[in-house]
Amino acid sequence: MATDDTQNVIDQPEVMKPRMATIEIAGKKVEVPEGITVVKAMWYAGIDVVRGIGCLGGFCGACATYYRTKDDPKVRTCLACQTAVQDGMCFTMMPPFPARKATYEIQKLQDPKQDLFNFYPEAPLCRNCNACTEACPQRIDVREGVWKAVFGDFKSVSEMFMDCVMCGMCTPVCIADIAPNLVALYVSRAQGAHFAEKPIGLDTRIKEIQDGRFNDEWNNILKMSDKELAEHCATVR
């Protein structure tokens, strides 16, 4: 793991003589260059991080973090790999939340819209408090999504939650103990597997391949010499 400091990407010219910010990481005050990401601030502060970092690109939701800015009592949420630190900021990473995930055989569902209430009986108990929406770093209208799921508008839910990185920050805040992201995941999968149109062209292509429609062409190109093949490739436009 972190045994060798020679590849330290933080010691780049722009951060060698940076403006420093005083921040608080999980209760401990440290000085870090202003403007680096929350993740880089932890590395800079000498903190080894294993849990809480995944893609570093804003897609995996591993780096769910609570933070507060100077003098503002409001605690906000962010993805630590996508957020810059500023002077006076306090933050702490969110541990994994023990939400319950239903298990299901997606293809075998008979009535996916009704089944939602078996898998997630708490979903209709949403009390409209909007805490989930406020917690979402991806700016999804989570509350609206939960309502739509319950009312069977699976298509809208699947579109709304395309941005969901499964960070889980909508879950601990829910006063009805709903895990909105898991509800949405079930709904999106059900939408795809049961309600989306079947693409005819895809089935046609699969059948063409099975029926050997391209066999002559394959035979032709696979016996070409390297030179012939290169020339043939050049003709493809």
């Binding site: 400091d5 590849q7 680096i36 298990t103 005819i200 190109i221």
Partner: protein, 527 residues
């Protein structure tokens, strides 16, 4: 210099550029450009591997050093297994999930072990899409030829043929699991055109293709109750007397203990090496992309292919500083985004292959036509507002929501302002050599996904990786599972390590590092 002032030239020259078409390079010019500017041709960055299956072949210094590195395992380690399984899948990205699902689906007891959480990988970040020849005017043969051309004719024909032919049925499998690919009005899959491809062939889920596929696959791994070991980093493989693979040793990253898993066969799906930052490049890769699978297989005696070539994605963010190396999807160029230098000129056909486009960006910057940021980095403009100008207001926002959000967080509206980009280390073109069942020359050791090599030749076309993962994930899973029934668990030994260490000794143990790396050393030593 203020970047906002410098970007005015992009706005000023937009109308004139819109009418321009830039021809693709002729094969001769293209070769010359690549040889002069592509990082793969910087001889000083390379050296020969001193011993092992690829002795005498060249690769980048960073990788050669790790390949020759010593194992963290002492030869007296107690090899009594904590777990016993038919199929052990190492890696929780796309290839690993696909392999585990197919292996378990075929009736084999399967364990999926991964370094970080399930799904934390490169696969979730794929934005551009997956190549599948579904359009009526397209065919698997055309897909094959395009890929071959992109790979400089060095792709393994057998591997490639299997991939393009199984593409459509893989798309069907994913649809049945509930993956929401974009559709046309008539319900057919919507396909986009990617760089280096002659036909529109990219199936997409908005610009969240990898995220959508991985959300579904992860959920399915949990639904199928596949046994998971998370925060478990593979640090050594196990072999029997005949050299066949029989399991692996992991380090539990929570408590640093060793965990031994006995398996009838092992599927390595550990992904690429971006986090080695070869030649000092920034990278688009996830935290754990440290090439572990290459080191582990190499010590077992598996042969590697094409490990002297890497993909530098043309468009890594250069500004703002927080996004350094992050990917600006190729989809922007596919839809007409133009590359513009400091003088306001276009300099390459944006849809040429990645190696050509990257080389030309490096050329512009080295010849002084790049734009320098306050922090001293250099890049060229990618004209993103042109998409709204061409296709109507709101296009960028509608087609690239992930990218909009990523930049918006730092106060940049990419539908109004161009972004500054420079090539970023993106993909390992080569890897462990496999056959069409995904098996290596080491019996019962399978490698799938980015860790494997041969299929993409010397340059991978956009969108072919996601397909590669699913096809060879599936094949490795099915083959390994098929074998499990009729097979006994092999003996757990470290014989291969004895052999490797003896060889290293002969060569003076010069590497001086322990491999695999597991995680990059970013933590600053304080005090």
């Amino acid at each position: 210099m203020d970047i906002h002032a410098l970007q005015q030239i992009v706005h000023r020259t937009r109308d004139a550029r819109r009418k321009q078409t830039i021809p693709k390079f002729s094969p001769a010019d293209r070769d010359q450009l690549i040889h002069k500017y592509h990082p793969d041709f910087r001889a000083s960055a390379y050296r020969s591997i001193r011993f092992g299956p690829n002795e005498g072949e060249k690769t980048v210094v960073e990788l050669a050093t790790l390949l020759e590195g010593d194992s963290p395992i002492h030869d007296d380690l107690d090899l009594t297994p904590q777990y016993q399984t038919d199929v052990l899948v190492i890696g929780g990205g796309g290839a690993g999930c696909a392999a585990a699902l197919h292996a378990q689906g075929a009736g084999a007891k399967t364990i999926l072990a991964t370094k970080l959480r399930l799904g934390d990988s490169n696969s979730v970040m794929a934005q551009g899409g997956m190549q599948v020849s579904v359009a009526p005017e397209d065919s698997p043969v055309t897909h094959f030829l395009d890929t071959l051309k992109g790979g400089h004719m060095e792709n393994d024909h057998a591997l490639l043929k299997v991939m393009v032919e199984e593409g459509p049925s893989i798309a069907k499998w994913l649809l049945e699991l509930g993956v929401l690919f974009d559709r046309q009005a008539d319900g057919n899959l919507h396909v986009k055109k990617g760089g280096g491809s002659s036909k529109p062939r990219l199936v997409t889920c908005s610009d969240y293709t990898g995220l959508e596929i991985m959300r579904v696959l992860k959920d399915e791994v949990l639904n199928q109750k596949i046994q998971l070991l998370e925060f478990a980093a593979a640090i050594e493989l196990l072999s029997d007397d005949s050299g066949a693979c029989t399991g692996a040793i992991f380090k539990d990253l929570d408590n640093q203990r060793h965990v031994v898993v006995a398996a009838k066969s092992v599927i390595l799906a550990t992904g690429g090496i971006g986090r080695l930052h070869i030649q000092g490049f920034p990278t688009s890769n996830h935290y754990g992309a440290t090439g572990d699978g290459l080191c582990l297989s190499y010590r077992m005696g598996a042969k590697l292919a094409h490990i002297d070539t890497f993909q530098y994605h043309p468009s890594g963010a250069v500004y703002p500083e927080q996004l350094i190396g992050a990917l600006v999807t190729e989809g922007i160029r596919s839809e007409g985004g133009q590359l513009v230098n400091a003088k306001g000129d276009r300099f390459v056909n944006e849809l040429d292959t990645r190696d050509v486009v990257s080389s030309s960006i490096i050329r512009e910057c080295e010849e002084g036509r790049g734009i320098r940021t306050m922090s001293g980095r250099v890049g060229v403009w990618l004209d993103t507002p042109i998409l709204d100008a061409e296709h109507g207001a709101g296009t960028v926002e509608k087609h690239f929501p992930a990218m909009m959000l990523q930049f918006e967080r730092f106060g940049i509206d990419i539908s109004k302002d161009p972004v500054l980009i420079y090539p970023t280390l993106h993909y390992q073109n080569g890897g462990v050599k496999i056959d069409t069942n995904s098996e290596t020359n080491v019996k019962n050791l399978f490698v799938a996904g980015e860790a494997s090599g041969g299929l993409h030749g010397r340059n991978r076309l956009m969108g072919n990786s996601l397909l590669d993962l699913m096809v060879y994930g599936k094949r490795s899973g099915l083959t390994a599972a098929g074998r499990a029934g009729s097979m006994k668990q092999g003996k757990l030994t470290l014989k291969h390590l004895e052999r490797f260490r003896a060889e290293a000794k002969q060569h003076g143990n010069v590497s001086g590092v322990i491999s695999p790396m597991i995680l990059p050393a970013y933590t600053r030593k304080v005090g």
